[in-house]
């Protein structure tokens, strides 16, 4: 075979790996009942493909071929090991005969089992850290090193999280399935939470130098799209809309020198129109369902901003109304704070300041730097310079991120 043809096959296999490896893995996990066995089988199936396709050409349905070969190889491996460990022999027998033709299974419509994979990886019995690591590893195909890099965590820590999560799934018998109708809303929350955490980690790193780690946000949006494709629940649609609308402002939210630019000061011509158009369409779809929740409402708020060509054209009345609904759906001091800022835009700084001071008086958000910087901002606009200075300083004490700190320092200098 010529060098060119070999290269050709390699490129084809690479492409199929990119497009299909997650689906093949998801099916292998169901067939083999074990994450590690399935990963090993996936690897062997692709290695075999590289050799065999070079001689025999591509099969009619590469995905089915890979699943069959992966399963075949895995059972074969277990058999071989079973000679040394009798407990494995039974497992191999339960998994079925290896003598059957691995290419017999030529079903064009093997169910897309990535949804099972997503729900199992995001099962709330796993810690949130483990849910994120396992989802990025198995659903998105990130390497351990890539996850470690993205979360500024040492690779062994991530590796350990993944190993523990897999043993918990196996030992505690967490099922590999899409939850039943009654459990679905709660479990979907857990999945959406993981996707949004990944998005936020990319959108605004909680510490360190980089404000935006684009890869994670892009991956979260990709995951959000996959979820909507597999399970078009209104809140999944709402979350995708929310991420797209936030992502659309990426280019406008930092200055060339890396300083944070607030929403009302952003150059709105830099906003990504394609993402806004798609976000607005999705939000309509989610709102129309009348079964929406917090993500959809937050997306609706982002949509009001997206529709305003200039900051002073923002419909604050509508934003406050959405915050009122949001507080009912999901009471939280952080949402109250955001509502206070919206009220200040609608009714003037005094009204917003009163709400924030009520939150502080209850003992909430005292350690939350955004609350102090919002307090500082409203005080400044009312000419209460000393209060503003004290609050900016408090916010600075609590903030760890470079671009936020620079923003606060600039505000302090400008007082």
């Amino acid at each position: 075979m010529s060098e060119d043809a070999r290269k050709n096959v390699r490129e084809k296999v690479d492409e199929i790996y990119r497009l299909e490896s997650r689906r093949v893995l998801a099916t292998l996990i169901r067939l083999l009942g074990d994450f590690d066995l399935a990963e090993e089988a996936l690897h062997e199936a692709f290695t075999t493909a590289l050799e065999q396709w070079a001689h025999e050409g591509l099969p009619k349905n590469p995905r089915t071929w890979l699943v069959s070969v992966g399963r075949f190889k895995a059972i074969d491996n277990i058999r071989r090991r079973a000679r040394f460990d009798s407990s494995l022999a039974q497992i191999a027998n339960e998994l079925g005969p290896t003598t059957e033709n691995p290419f017999a299974e030529d079903d064009e419509d093997i169910e897309d089992e990535r949804l099972r994979l997503i729900f199992t990886c995001c099962h709330p019995a796993l810690s949130p850290d483990a849910q994120i690591a396992l989802t990025l590893r198995t659903v998105c195909g990130f390497t351990t090193e890539e996850i470690a890099h993205a979360f500024l965590t040492p690779p062994p820590t991530i590796a350990q999280r993944i190993v523990r999560a897999k043993s918990k799934i196996r030992d505690a018998h967490i099922p590999y399935e899409v939850p039943s109708h009654t459990e679905l809303p709660d479990r979907l929350d857990s999945v959406l939470h993981v996707i949004y955490l990944v998005f936020n980690e990319g959108y605004s790193a909680s510490f360190g130098d980089s404000l935006t780690r684009h890869d994670l946000s892009a991956e979260a949006i990709r995951l959000g799209r996959l979820l909507v494709e597999l399970l078009p629940e209104p809140e999944a649609v709402g979350l995708l809309a929310l991420m797209l609308l936030q992502e659309s402002r990426r280019a406008a939210r930092t200055s060339p020198t890396g300083e944070l630019i607030l929403l009302n000061e952003q150059d709105r011509t830099l906003w990504d129109r394609a993402q806004i158009t798609e976000g607005l369409r999705l939000i309509q779809q989610a709102l129309a369902s009348r079964r929406f929740g917090p993500y959809t409402i937050q997306a609706a708020i982002a949509a009001v901003h997206a529709r305003a060509a200039r900051a002073d054209e923002t419909d604050w009345n509508q934003i406050v109304a959405f915050y009122d609904i949001l507080i009912q759906a999901e009471p939280s001091p952080v949402i109250e704070l955001n509502r206070a800022v919206a009220v200040a835009m609608r009714d003037g700084p005094e009204a917003g300041l009163t709400i924030i001071e009520e939150i502080f008086a209850r003992g909430d958000l005292l350690e939350y730097h955004f609350a102090h910087s919002a307090h500082a901002d409203l005080s400044r606009r009312l000419g209460k310079i000393e209060e503003a200075r004290a609050s900016y300083e408090k916010a600075l004490q609590l903030s760890q991120q470079r671009s936020e700190r620079e923003f606060l320092e600039r505000r302090l200098r400008e007082l």
Partner: protein, 119 residues
Amino acid sequence: MKFLCLVHEEPDNGLGPQTEQEAQELVNEHLDYDETLRQSGHWLYAQALQPVETATTVRVRNGKTSITDGPFAETKEVLGGFVMIEAMDMEEAIQIAAGIPSARMGFIHVRRVCEFKSS
């Protein structure tokens, strides 16, 4: 009356099994002791538990179920299993608990079972 013997392990104290073979021997010893208690009429039920890392906590508040990972043992002791026994009194329950093989490497909490009557 019924007593529950909660079998705790102290994985870091170096007294537990060190090899696979020792672990298997400990399992056999437990099974033998179950059989002894069964024959003497003390045995009601016994089970070992999967490692504490598999623990999951379930709460229901305001009708909403919350599921979380853990709890993980903050201290150096973990619940590894339990034996439910029938005994005359605490004295006899203590004697039976002292015979549980894991008492030599961890410890056993003995609790009398509360037998409620519905009214």
